[in-house]
């Protein structure tokens, strides 16, 4: 028999095992391929949003970290699942290898035969996997583009090639390992089930006796099949870490970013000012989700200024809780280098930063009257602050090395530089903002007055309050707008991006389910003979199903405990530095995690049913 015809015939005669392995590997390859190419395209889409200046640096960071961590986990998951399935299949061949050795076949020839089998399995499954993966990718991008997104459909053939090469290499390394071990082992060892299963007696003594027969049998079975069980746990731990990061991370990041925006814009805020200036402000605020061409305007034009008497009248309206009067203008700001101690030597001083400049929106505010509540790194402006500023995150990232140890010049011609006490996440002008005390701004400008008012109103009396505001502002030829409508657009925009990103966890979950099914199917086909014996001894089909289900449950619970904790750790430690977690999100996250575990457990019912479909006689005669 030629060297290639033996493995082909061998695989063809072991139809079930071969089909299961090819199916499992193909799905694993398809899922990995899909997740990576789809994930990288999502990343490009989000990068485009960020580069186009539509996202602030703080937001882009969260999105990037999310995509980056999910991609790393994806890259890890694919080879781990693939190698696990290959290892499981090849471990089942050890006995055959032992028999061949016993018949006098040389170790080298045995290794070559089985590695050829392995290569055939990997080659066919990779081919099918690529077809499925690319099809899933096209289907998903078409679906998302129809739903209003604009995801590129370009396929990066280089990426596909790299993924396939990595998967093929891993499959060969992990698959060749049991083959090589068995080929080197003595025939008696290779033929022994103890060697094949990694069976241990000592572990069996620790099994809790109060768990009931089926659970005990399942527990015992898993402990005794040491190598397969530990591999399964490693595999599902990684998959569940990925699923937890994507689902929990995605949900919490969505809520956190939404909360940043809500805090930065504020709820129940009415903006009052001249129509031109108000439109300008709303456009600057909406840059986050729609870019519009804007003409140059003179913010300090007398036409735009608001009288003190109107401010007083509006403050007196019942239902107006707070009046935040500001002087707003656009100007070029300049970075001022700072001096810090050398981080290594700690004795000499070094200069940090440069003299970079950028266009920014300057907002003179009265610290105690501010209606917004941004996420601030550092501190807020205080009542007694005179020469301090809080700058937006994009300005901080793009223009400064260490903003809190540097200062900022608002007007180039001025000699004054202001210290930066905090950095805020603000969608206004995409985070290119400077908040400073209004008195200081007056001094710098040599001009006084407000050009925009922010009124925080009581939501319960909204219509009456709005009617009164309209009365007052119309007398001075000014206008007003509710910022809630703008805020809702922001929230929708963020929800849209996250719903796009959340496509990834759905597929990771599918990968987890498919891996579990493949593992159980392969594992059951290896245990069919023993299930047959159990049934011959009086075990009901239900008992066998319970044993299979319990095996899946134990693996899911153990890997779930490690994977979910790991996923939560990664999410909170690396993904979202200052997460916003409401009670509702906690409930949703817990529900999702329970659904995932439940789905995985439920998916094991199918192989459990398959396990009892054979007749007792057929099952016993299964080898």
């Amino acid at each position: 028999m030629s060297e290639i015809s033996f493995p082909i015939k061998d695989l063809a005669r072991r139809k079930t095992q071969t089909t299961l392995t090819i199916f499992g590997l193909a799905i694993s390859t398809a899922a990995t391929l899909f997740l990576i190419i789809f994930g990288s395209n999502l990343g490009f889409e989000i990068m485009f949003l960020a580069k186009g200046g539509r996202l602030t640096s703080g937001f882009s960071n969260i999105f990037f970290q999310f995509i980056l961590i999910v991609s790393i986990l994806n890259i890890l998951t694919g080879p781990i699942i693939t190698s696990f399935l290959v290892h499981l299949t090849m471990s089942g061949r050890r006995q055959d290898i032992g028999v061949m050795k016993a018949c006098g076949c040389l170790s080298g020839s045995i290794f070559a035969y089985f590695v050829t089998e392995l290569s055939l399995l990997v080659f066919f499954s990779s081919l099918i996997g690529i077809i499925f993966g690319v099809a899933a990718y096209y289907f998903s991008t078409i679906f998302l583009n129809v739903s209003g997104f604009s995801i590129s459909q370009t396929l990066n053939l280089g990426t596909i090639l790299i993924i396939c090469i990595v998967l093929i290499i891993f499959s060969h390394i992990f698959g060749a390992l049991p083959i090589s071990k068995a080929a080197k082992a003595k025939p008696t060892e290779a033929m022994s089930p103890i060697y094949q299963l990694g069976t241990t007696a000592a572990l069996g003594k620790k099994i809790p006796s109060k768990l009931g027969l089926t659970f005990k049998a399942a527990f015992r079975n898993l402990l005794r099949r040491k190598s397969a069980t530990s591999q399964a746990i490693i595999c599902f731990t990684v998959v569940l870490t990925l699923t937890t990061v994507t689902i929990v991370g995605g949900m919490i990041a969505n809520q956190t970013t939404t909360s940043y925006v809500e805090r930065a814009i504020g709820r129940n805020i009415v903006l009052v000012g001249h129509l031109t200036l108000m439109e300008r402000y709303v456009n600057l605020l909406s840059r986050f989700f729609e870019e519009k061409e804007m003409q140059q305007i003179d913010y300090l034009d007398h036409e735009f200024l608001i009288s003190e008497s109107l401010v007083s009248k509006l403050a007196d309206i019942p239902g107006v809780r707070k009046v935040d009067a500001r002087l707003v203008l656009e100007n070029s700001v300049r970075e001022v280098p700072g001096i810090v101690l050398d981080p290594i030597e700690q004795t000499t001083a070094v200069i940090i930063g440069d003299s970079r400049s950028n266009e920014a929106l300057i907002l003179g505010v009265e610290a105690e009257k501010v209606v917004n509540d941004w996420l601030i790194f550092g501190r807020k402006l205080g009542k007694n602050d005179q020469e301090s500023t809080v700058i937006g995150d994009s300005l901080a990232v793009n223009m400064f090395d260490d903003p809190q140890n540097q200062s900022i010049k608002i007007f180039d011609e001025s000699l004054l530089a202001y210290s930066i006490v905090g950095v805020c996440v603000d969608p206004l002008n995409n985070g290119k903002v400077v908040y400073m005390p209004i008195e200081t701004l007056y001094n710098d400008l040599g001009q006084q007055g407000y050009n925009l008012l922010f009124l925080q109103i009581d939501a319960s009396e909204k219509s009456q309050v709005l009617a009164q505001i309209e009365n007052e502002v119309s007398e001075e030829n000014l206008n007003f707008v509710e910022l809630d409508t703008v805020l809702d657009k922001h929230v929708n925009f963020l929800n849209n991006i996250w719903s796009l990103v959340m496509f990834l966890p759905l597929f990771s979950l599918a990968t987890a389910t498919i891996s579990l099914l493949s593992y159980l199917m392969l594992s059951i086909s290896g245990q069919q003979h023993e299930f047959g014996i159990m049934r011959a001894l009086g075990a009901k089909p239900r008992t066998i199903m319970k044993i299979v289900f319990s095996q899946a449950l134990i693996i899911i619970l153990v890997s779930g405990a490690i994977g979910i904790s790991g996923g939560l750790f990664i999410t909170f430690r690396f993904l979202i530095p200052d997460p916003v977690i409401s009670q509702s999100i906690l409930i949703s996250v817990s529900a999702w995690l329970l659904v995932i575990l439940g789905l995985l457990c439920a998916s094991s019912l199918y192989p459990a049913r398959k396990a009892v479909k054979k007749t007792v006689v057929d099952a016993i005669s299964t080898l």
Partner: protein, 225 residues
């Protein structure tokens, strides 16, 4: 008058292998009474295993009837048959069929765990049976760590675990050498003394001596020798 334990009438079992119909059991009529020790003799492929599978409720007849302990086995579903096997039948297979991931003592205990015995009773019973088959020192060993004869002795202990009224032994010495075969014969003698109904399929003429009645099977039919 002794109770009829097994009544087979016009019992047939056919298998379809690659469009070829094979008659494994062909029109068998058989009655076995309580306490009888029956040996079924036949060459390999005569249908002994198929007949034992039908009597032991592992398989269903293609036609005819098999009534064991007043239960028409062809009419029940798999759940009932599992309970039936657990309560009435002890099986010894030619290839031992021990569960490879369970130790010797756990293989024996598994049957009575299924029957819902208490922990203490399971322990006592398993140890008693290991002693009966002379393997009290090998209880914590896995099947792969036992010799063929030892495995078969564990299989006998397991078959007797829940004290079944009917023991079916399919070529119990088929895979063993002569010396080990003698050990099995001694176990069978002990079982015979206890008055259990035993059906023993064999092509080992020495085992025929143990039987109170011997039946001869050829091409799926019971024949005179």
């Amino acid at each position: 008058m002794k109770e009829k334990v097994i009544v087979a009438s016009d019992l047939c079992r056919q298998f379809e292998i690659d469009d070829v119909i094979v008659d494994a059991i062909n029109n068998i009529n058989l009655t076995v009474e309580e306490g009888e020790f029956i040996s079924i003799y036949g060459v390999s492929g005569a249908g002994k295993t198929t007949l034992l599978n039908l009597i032991g409720a592992l398989d269903k007849p293609t036609s005819g009837k098999i009534v064991v302990f007043n239960h028409d086995l062809g009419t029940y579903d798999e759940n009932f048959l599992a309970t039936f096997r657990s309560a009435y039948i002890g099986f010894v297979f030619q290839s031992y069929n021990l569960i490879s991931t369970l130790t010797a003592v756990e293989n024996i205990a598994f049957v009575i765990e299924l029957a819902g015995w208490s922990k203490e009773r399971i322990k006592n019973r398993s140890e008693t049976l290991l002693k009966l088959v002379g393997l009290e020192h090998r209880g914590n060993h896995f099947p792969a760590q036992l010799s063929g004869g030892e495995r078969q002795r564990v299989a006998f202990a397991r078959a007797l675990a829940n004290d079944p009224p009917l023991l079916l032994a399919d070529e119990p010495t088929g895979n063993l050498d002569m010396e080990t075969g003698v050990e099995i014969v001694s176990i069978l003698e002990k079982i015979k003394e206890k008055g259990k109904t035993v059906i023993l399929a064999t092509h080992d003429e020495k085992l025929l001596k143990l039987a109170s009645r011997s039946l001869f099977l050829k091409d799926g039919r019971l024949t005179d020798r």
